[in-house]
Amino acid sequence: MDIEYIGENIISGQLGNLLIILSFVCSTLAAFSYFKAINSSPLDGDTWKKMGRTFFLIHVVSIIGIVVVLFYLLFNHHFEYYYVWRHSSSDLAMRYVFSCFWEGQEGSFLLWSLWHAVLGVILMKTAKQWEAGTLAVVSTVQLLLGSMLLGVYVFDVQIGSNPFILLREHPDMINLPFVQNPDYLSFVEGTGLNPLLQNYWMTIHPPILFLGFALTLIPFAFAFASLVEKKYTEWLKPALPWTFAGIAILGLGVLMGGAWAYEALSFGGFWAWDPVENSSLVPWLILVGAGHLMLINKVKPNSMLSTYLFALFSFLLIMYSSYLTKSGILGETSVHSFADGLPGQLIFILLVLVVAAVSLLVLRYKSLPKQQTEEDLWSREFWMFLGALVLLISSFQITFSTSIPVINAIFGTNMAPPTEANAHYNSWQLPLATLISLFIGIGHYLKYKKTDKKQFLKDTAFSAIISLLIAIVVATQLQFQHYYHGLLMFAATYAVVANADYWLRILKGKIKKSGAAIAHIGFGLLLIGALISAGNKEIISVNNSGIEIKMNENENANKENIMLIKGDTVLMGNHFISYEGREKEGHNIYYKINYYQLDDNGEYDTKFQLRPFVQLNEQMGNVPEPATKHFWNKDIFTHVTYADLDDPALEDPNAFEEPDTNLVRVGDTLFATNSIIVVRGIDKNIDLESNNLQPTDIAVGLNLEAMNVKGLTFEAKPILVIRQNRLFSISSEVENLGLKFNFKNINTETGEFTILKQEKTSNASDFIIMQAIVFPYINILWLGCIIMTIGSIIAVINRIRYPKLKS
């Protein structure tokens, strides 16, 4: 039963598959050749090395080819391919096509492999005597990752998942009726990209993050190769620039993830200790530890075992992270739900690498350089070593708590992640960050081997006093809630001030050796920004109207949301805010929220408008996206938690609610949802003719003045008519406010008027539930992040340019 399908582009997929097999085979051959090159005689070694190079280069070209083919298929909407159908759609803006590429597991492995391949080529050109060893490791990792793309079955076990499988041949689809239709392509449409990923951050964050992932492989490769070749200390120098490049790029990638979460997600913050965030933070912490241990062991190989463990485990933890996030084991613990993709194979790859690295280290343990002398308490290496251990504890804490689902799977327990994740993680990470900051502050003033104590105290006392003063001022001004926030504030400020002092006074502001100092200043600022913006964040959308609080007596109530009816104005923090209505643009519904402040004359002065929106997506659910106003010293984050997505205007824009009766005197006020109405007085001079009344009628008007929230006034004049002992009224409507008044009666004895007030249903039905949070000084966080990256890059460049430079 052969069906001639119409319009399929089969040849591209076949090319892609050919390249996948070619790249897999070539990485295997490259790994084999390079391993052979390590232990062969110089003459044979050269031949093997040349073969390794050739195979690796073919492998690189094939990887690039696979990437090009997949992009080609995505760009041209070839929905006959499952991956294209699954991750894109023809109405998707072209700028998101990159996000489609790495949304799926296959694409993200491909991106990762591509970076490995690029770094491998650079390594090939620069590693000299380390080429064979390091590229053997890189090629091996490439063949393991490449196996994730194979998509073949060996004895009914699926190995890898192929990005070029046809839609009609995918196991989920094979029994569906469209497979029988030769012209299925004329009506098949892609399911589109997850709306959360349709964000500019998702175009740049993944490539940077994966480059960071890939960079951790290089210190791993150097460490592994040096253990194989028993050259235990020579690898430190060539591996250092790679390690610090990894620190810069991976750090940037992790923080960009935080920036994306802050801009596009609605949990209100840049960090939530989510398992996915945690699992890329931990390898960074370990890599930072590795870099610093490598620095001190380059001077004196006193703690080589630790150096090896850190250098090897940074990459191994990246592999563990990809197992956590891609195997589906996180299940209901994470909002980032990824594929249930081949957990068995991921575990297998992880175990192969861990077992290989650990057993090699155990095998070589006896021959590692041993500690000669004990470190002096007043030496830089002692405190840097302690710093690395603090990073280790920090990583262990995060990893252990994040691994609860894994612990459940292994031990059959039934634990759920801590309910108060922030409190749980912060209780450990805050003190550890305080310790690390203090170490960073003193680090540069300690000399290798032995420090003059008097000189040390003289050098550091000044910055310590300055930092203490700053911390006291900040803590009292911002009214810190906890003493340990004050401690961290002091420690982080000390890290900044001491390093700035070191850079400007000791290094005299020169750039050449300043990388470390600048990076540490950045890290300190990052901590200060995180501490203040998260510790002092203020939810200003607190429900402070008396009625709601009564209903909210339950202690669980969140009290973070507020209802705004269109036209309503509410005081929040030092702003008045009002909801101005909604607007539909493309797939998004924008909610226009104005922020005002009172000017000197007591008038409302519009400061700015925020437009949080909901992205409508039939396939994957509607996604709300917050809007944030950035000031130099704070951000105002605004998020629509709930809104009716149907347009309320469609219900019946002219319907009025039931009227309510009011007895009022002149000067009294009435309240409507959107305005305040003042009774101004009686008007006895009603023109009968223009109101279609008879000359014998007696007519009295009531002057009403309605003022809306912005202070604009509108007038209304309902009229009471007396015609031969009968009363009736002529209503008056304020169209701008959706209000209608009827003048029903006058009580001549009490001087009271009876008026009916009616409001349009739509006055109250267009409403939103929103949340507003002020993040003070969050820019310090981003500034710190940028400075840290710049500092690390300066350090890398200087290490490459001046290899003889003492650290």
């Binding site: 399911t191 209901e332 749980h424 209903m551 109530a557 949301n561 659910g621």
Partner: protein, 135 residues
């Protein structure tokens, strides 16, 4: 005793602290039957939105109260009082995880995690209704 030994002891002690604190802070997954036997204790319950569940959210009366019926993994149905705004698209959720405790016989929750039919695990039914009509 060398410094390294002192440091080693401290590291081991802190690591034990880390493990204990995680075990202490970890919440427990449970079914409604267990929740009902332990009033006042916080649990996480995994389940689905009950079919034909009455979902009420009237922000004009109370912004922070949202109720619905949920069926746990043992098939027991219970009304959940969630103290917060109704999550957007709640009706579409495939699976919900609520964190809360029993108070006066009612289950009060302060956290909801919902899983919507993501593109990774949907059954393709909706996507291919059109196709059936065509072929």
């Amino acid at each position: 005793m060398k410094k390294i030994h002192i440091i080693g002891i401290i590291i081991v002690a802190v690591s034990i602290g880390v493990i204990l604190s995680t075990l202490a802070d970890a919440a427990t997954y449970a079914e409604f039957a267990v929740v009902e036997n332990n009033p006042g204790k916080e649990f996480q319950v995994v389940g689905t939105l009950a079919e034909n569940s009455e979902i009420t959210y009237d922000p004009k009366v109370n912004v922070e109260l949202f109720t619905f019926n949920m069926v746990d993994n043992n098939g027991i149905e219970k009304k959940v009082f969630f103290h917060g705004a109704k999550p957007q698209d709640f009706e579409r959720s495939e699976q919900v995880v609520v964190t809360g405790k029993l108070e006066d016989g009612e289950f009060h929750a302060n956290k909801i995690l919902m899983k919507c039919p993501s593109k990774y695990n949907n059954g393709n039914d909706t996507e291919f209704t059109e196709v059936k009509a065509n072929s």
